[in-house]
């Protein structure tokens, strides 16, 4: 097929995209490192970086949670005597003796008939009812970890057992969907158009439960100072939201709740909200009057901090013979807990990905005896894009058309849902970058046609899309007389390298070396930063850092107003726009010989520091636009003909994420998303035994995530075109698009390799023999 040549001529009118010079040439051996190392580097590699339970506190205690053994029912009796008598034990907290949580609705907690409510998490220790297996029912506190762990094994519970309902295939049969306006079908044009096109496909795709499993176990260190003040060191992606949750739960004032999260060992969504174990730790600390460390075990991570929910999706597509989509139907069934509604709208991706006049989406959520799911990297879009992008691939074969060309034929030039223009969209360029890199045009489109011994080789591609958002954030900038610039935000960093990106932004605005800039974070007493999630941290906080640095420059320019060094015949009162900031100097733009060291400026004014805090919000212009980031995933796989093992041989990802702020960390984030996608595609599946409602592979030996040997060389390539409509730094977002669509690219490559379409993730060897 010579389609790519055609594509290049007809679909890439912009010429060669502006790319970051790729350092990833093959055959060079080691890739040359990129500029600006991660600013957290030294702390991390020396082991001095402190995570949630690594802060030394006097009089510390250890809390261990006990989970229920049943998935549905009621506690009849609890015997905690043996645990209480065990050496070192300070308290055993259960619903029978727990301090009350002021904002819990204790009546509602004991009333499962009420059904799931949005945003209402499990109320820990609020009563005898059990909604899922592994539900925390007791907290054992002792003076050492070993003693607490042992004593926890002595808590005995008797239950009145109900039948657990965790068989998700009962959704829509014996288990009824939640109702409400949120579940109204979306219809654009003719809802049934997909049934009637000249070429059509319909298929069903299944995504099992996936568990975030960040490497740091979810953990918290918590202490009370008196009855009204709380300090926690927490594993959280949202310092502010954790602070608010604790304030609300215990009815405390903002200034009385101090949250620290200087280092967060991954999250991928699992640390976006405050979970019951965090409240439990505060209850435990209240009970004993001593600080407590509470670390979940790896198995408890499967029960207590969410997961990506099982979703069964049906896609119908129709197209004209030349590939123009005439109808899309996307129906999705997902799950939630018995006590809380969770909603991630996995179908929305089908409304906005491609230009198509007729679209119908339907989203249903069913309650089961499981804990509440939560957003996991890429959230609903990752789930939805897996189905949609797999179906597009199926359609391309039905059309006998290059899958890339099919996407280009249906390329949306404006938002298909609202008709609004994009603030920026460079997806075509992203396609081209990645397609060229992987050698897409040389692939053989015929399934099962390339062999290497017993290995079958195949290529696949898919697209990812995620909304680019900018929220409101505050940041503080302080220039010190010793020449350092300190930037502060309460934000936490679970891995993307926020501090590094912020230092880069500040360095660019302030014209100074990154080494002299300290970005301080993870502390709720600092100006409120965003929650790290939804791919919006850089756009949101980066804008605030940009604005605060500009503002600080203005303030410093004021200091220089009267300074004689800038007095010329034309200029008497120098203004910011007359000046530039370069290498620690304030320089007169019109005459660069006139300059003053910023530190001298402070000394001249007898100041130790200059400081400003600025709040930065989205601009009004965006009301007329929509903003999205895009990824183009291209994958080469090898599938063993006899044993069914799949090896990812090569990955190239093109990213349209606006301006790349920090190339090194951006590349890493993209590579990391691909690795997550390898897991999603090939190995991740949380398995529940429906007789008991219990997760059977609740550990890292049985729940497989990718290991080093699963991951090949990965090229992360960026279009790197700024979106200054969205925000002043031009960045969109990247965390989600790195993963969204990736699993479909793998599944599509497996089809190209074998001729076998696996529509149930993960694609384990047993499904390919």
């Amino acid at each position: 097929m010579d389609s790519l040549k055609t594509i290049k001529n007809s679909f890439f009118p912009l010429g060669s995209p502006h790319t970051v010079p790729s350092p990833l040439e093959k055959g060079l051996g080691i890739r040359p490192p990129l500029p600006l190392d991660r600013v957290t580097g030294k702390a991390v590699v020396t082991g001095t970086a402190k995570y949630a339970t690594e802060h030394e506190l006097d009089n510390i205690t250890y809390g261990v949670l006990v989970g229920s053994n049943i998935a549905n029912g009621k506690i009849q009796a609890m015997d905690t005597k043996a645990a209480e008598r065990a050496p070192g034990v300070l308290a055993v907290v259960t619903y029978l003796n727990s301090p009350k949580v002021p904002n819990y609705d204790y009546d509602a907690g004991g009333n499962p008939v009420k059904g799931p409510t949005g945003g209402k998490g499990l109320q820990i220790f609020d009563g005898p009812y059990i909604y899922f297996n592994g539900q925390p029912i007791a907290l054992v506190i002792a003076d050492t970890f070993e003693r607490a762990t042992y004593a926890a094994s002595l808590v005995k519970t008797q239950y009145e057992k109900g039948k657990p309902e965790t068989d998700f295939s009962d959704a829509g049969k014996t288990v009824k969907a939640l109702e409400g306006d949120r579940y109204k079908d979306y219809i654009r044009g003719d809802a049934d158009a997909y049934k009637n096109g000249p070429v059509k496909i319909e298929a069903e795709y299944l995504l099992p439960n996936e568990v975030h499993n960040p490497m740091e176990l979810h953990a918290i260190t918590a202490m009370w100072n008196g009855d009204s003040k709380v300090t926690v060191y927490d594993k959280t992606q949202g310092v502010e939201s954790t602070q608010r949750s604790i304030m609300n739960a215990f009815k405390l004032k903002e200034e009385d709740v101090q949250v620290y999260a200087p280092f967060v060992g991954g999250g991928f969504g699992s640390a976006l909200r405050t979970w019951p174990h965090e409240i439990a730790a505060l209850l435990g600390a209240k009970k004993t009057g001593r600080p407590i460390k509470l670390v979940l075990t790896r198995p408890q991570m499967f029960y207590m901090v969410g997961y990506r929910p099982y979703t069964l999706q049906r896609i119908g597509l129709s197209a004209t013979a030349d590939g123009k989509l005439t109808g899309i139907s996307h129906q999705s069934d997902s799950i939630t807990s018995m006590y809380e509604e969770f909603n991630e709208r996995s179908v929305n991706v089908s409304r906005i990905m491609y230009a198509c006049p007729n679209v119908m989406t339907q989203y249903r959520v069913y309650p089961f005896n499981v804990s509440t799911p939560t957003w996991m990297r890429g959230p609903g879009e990752a789930t939805g894009a897996y189905a949609l992008e797999s179906a597009l691939d199926e359609l391309s074969y039905a059309l006998n058309m290059d899958p890339l060309q099919l996407r280009l034929v249906n390329y949306a030039e404006t938002n298909p849902d609202t008709g609004k223009p994009y603030s920026s969209k460079f997806l075509k360029e992203a396609y081209q970058l990645a397609a060229d890199k992987i050698g897409w045009k040389d692939r053989n489109p015929k399934p099962g046609s390339i062999k290497d011994g017993d290995w079958m080789i195949g290529y696949g591609m898919a697209t990812g899309v995620f909304g680019a958002h900018r929220g409101t954030a505050k940041a503080l900038a302080r220039f010190l007389v010793d020449g350092t610039l300190v930037i502060q935000s309460s934000v936490s960093d679970s891995g993307p390298g926020t501090a590094t990106a912020m230092v880069k932004i500040a360095a660019d605005v302030f014209g100074m070396s990154p080494e002299k800039i300290n970005f301080e974070l993870g502390d709720s007493s600092m100006p409120p930063g965003p929650t790290q999630g939804g791919s919006s941290t850089t756009a949101t906080l980066g804008s605030a850092v940009h604005d605060v640095c500009e503002s600080l420059k203005g303030k410093m320019a004021d200091l220089a107003k009267e300074n004689s060094v800038f007095h010329t015949t034309e200029i008497h009162n120098v203004k910011l726009e007359d000046l530039s900031f370069e290498n620690g100097y304030m320089v007169l733009a019109a005459d660069k010989s006139r300059k003053i060291l910023l530190t001298d400026l402070l000394k001249d004014n007898n100041l130790k520091q200059v400081e400003v805090t600025v709040e930065s919000s989205p601009n009004d212009k965006m009301k007329d636009y929509v903003a999205y980031s895009y990824s183009a995933h291209f994958v080469k796989v090898a599938v063993h003909a006899l044993n069914g093992m799949v090896r990812i041989k090569q990955v190239a990802i093109g990213g349209d994420a606006g301006k790349i702020i920090s190339l090194k960390t951006a590349e890493s984030q993209m590579i990391g998303g691909a690795v997550g996608g390898i897991g999603m595609a090939l190995m991740e599946e949380g398995a529940i035994d429906n007789r008991y409602g219990r997760w059977m592979n609740n550990n890292l030996a049985d729940y497989h995530v990718p290991i080093q040997a699963d991951v090949p060389h990965i090229d992360a390539l960026f279009v790197n075109k700024p979106d200054y409509l969205l925000n002043p730094i031009g960045a969109k977002g990247m965390g989600e698009i790195a993963l969204i669509g990736f699993a479909a690219a793998v599944a599509n490559a497996v089809y190209n390799a074998t001729g076998k379409r696996v529509r149930e993730l993960p694609i384990t060897p047993d499904k390919l023999i």
């Binding site: 042992y150 017993d454 093992m645 219990r694 592979n697 049985d702 040997a709 699963d710 060897p765 047993d766």
Partner: protein, 328 residues
């Protein structure tokens, strides 16, 4: 984990004496499985007898036999020059198991004594006849994609998780055990047992016995063509869905002698004797390998989620034989 007593011994005799003195005591060496099991509450010995100081670490050749001390580390055995040259199959199997860190801790004897990875065995809230006789087999009608297809019973369908043992079964190894009654030798394929009605017993080691060594006969002709292939859900650091250990004594294209064993399919390393017998004297062709695989699969029984092993196991036998014979 319960608190327990701990003693370190320095001779086999004192180890055995200490064990006999105390019904609830256990030996500990690498600890990679026992400490794990103790953390989960599956094992709760009241006393641990640390045998890591016993002089059982040597790997020596004597009269056509390689003797591997029970405390020789998996990583040491895997990289030992003598083993790599004379018993490459064992080296390959060891390297396919666990991770470098675990292999640095795990011992030869401990590897043999590791317990199943069946999730029902590990989760103490679940039924499991192996952990708690009489509670039933949770896996039988449950989550059983990793489980046995040979020699299981309604009491237990768990598999033995070792890679090393699959190679040792194929290589006709002998286990040397010591007790206060003296030394005893157990043929490797008789060491582990099938579950029957007593799945709580993994092997035929008697109370008061200590594994001191494994002896493996040298067969240079077999060593020349040996291979271990492990099929798993990810590229490394995962237990086998199925694995195959093969060694062929080839005369041109003719198979003079064959050794075949499988892992991930039974409560013990599964020696494929009838397939071996079939292959003897046959030429190395894909048709013969397929026939051998069919013979090997006789009596296989599946339990739902592991049905795929009916195809994956013979396929992997064929793959291994093709590769080891140079056919592909």
């Amino acid at each position: 984990m319960i608190n327990f007593d701990y003693v370190k011994v320095s001779s086999s005799k004192s180890a055995i004496d200490a064990l006999n003195k105390d019904a609830s005591s256990m030996f500990i060496a690498g600890g990679t499985n026992l400490v794990d099991l103790m953390k989960r509450g599956v094992e709760s010995p009241e006393k641990l007898i640390d045998i890591t100081n016993l002089p059982l670490k040597n790997i020596e050749e004597d009269n056509g036999v390689i003797r591997i001390g029970a405390l020789a580390l998996n990583s040491v055995v895997a990289e030992d020059k003598l083993i790599m040259e004379k018993l490459p199959l064992l080296s390959l199997a060891l390297k396919a198991g666990a991770s470098p860190q675990l292999r640095n801790m795990a011992t030869t004897g401990g590897n043999m004594l590791q317990r199943t990875r069946c999730p029902y065995f590990y989760d103490t809230t679940m039924p499991c006849n192996k952990r708690q006789p009489g509670t039933g087999c949770g896996a039988l009608h449950g989550y059983n994609r990793m489980h046995a297809i040979f020699g299981a019973s309604v009491s237990c369908i768990a598999v033995h998780p070792s890679d090393m043992c699959v190679a040792l079964a194929a290589l006709d190894a002998t286990v040397i055990v010591n007790s206060n009654k003296g030394e005893r030798k157990i043929h490797f394929t008789d060491f582990h047992r099938l579950p029957g009605n007593t799945p709580e017993k993994d092997n035929n080691l008697q109370k008061g016995e200590l594994i001191t060594a494994v002896e493996v006969p040298i067969n240079d002709s077999l060593a020349k063509n040996s291979l271990y292939i492990k099929v798993r859900d990810r590229a490394s650091y995962a237990f086998a869905l199925v694995s195959v250990a093969a060694a062929l004594d080839m005369d041109g294209h003719t198979i003079k002698d064959a050794r075949l064993a499988m892992g991930g399919v039974a409560h013990k390393p599964w020696r494929l004797t009838s397939a071996e017998n079939f292959l003897k004297g046959k030429s190395a062709t894909e048709a013969n390998f397929k026939q051998a695989a069919t013979i090997a699969m006789k009596d296989a029984k599946v339990y739902g989620q592991n049905n795929f092993k009916l195809k994956m196991a013979p396929n992997t036998i064929v793959q291994t034989l093709k590769t080891v014979s140079g056919l592909s």
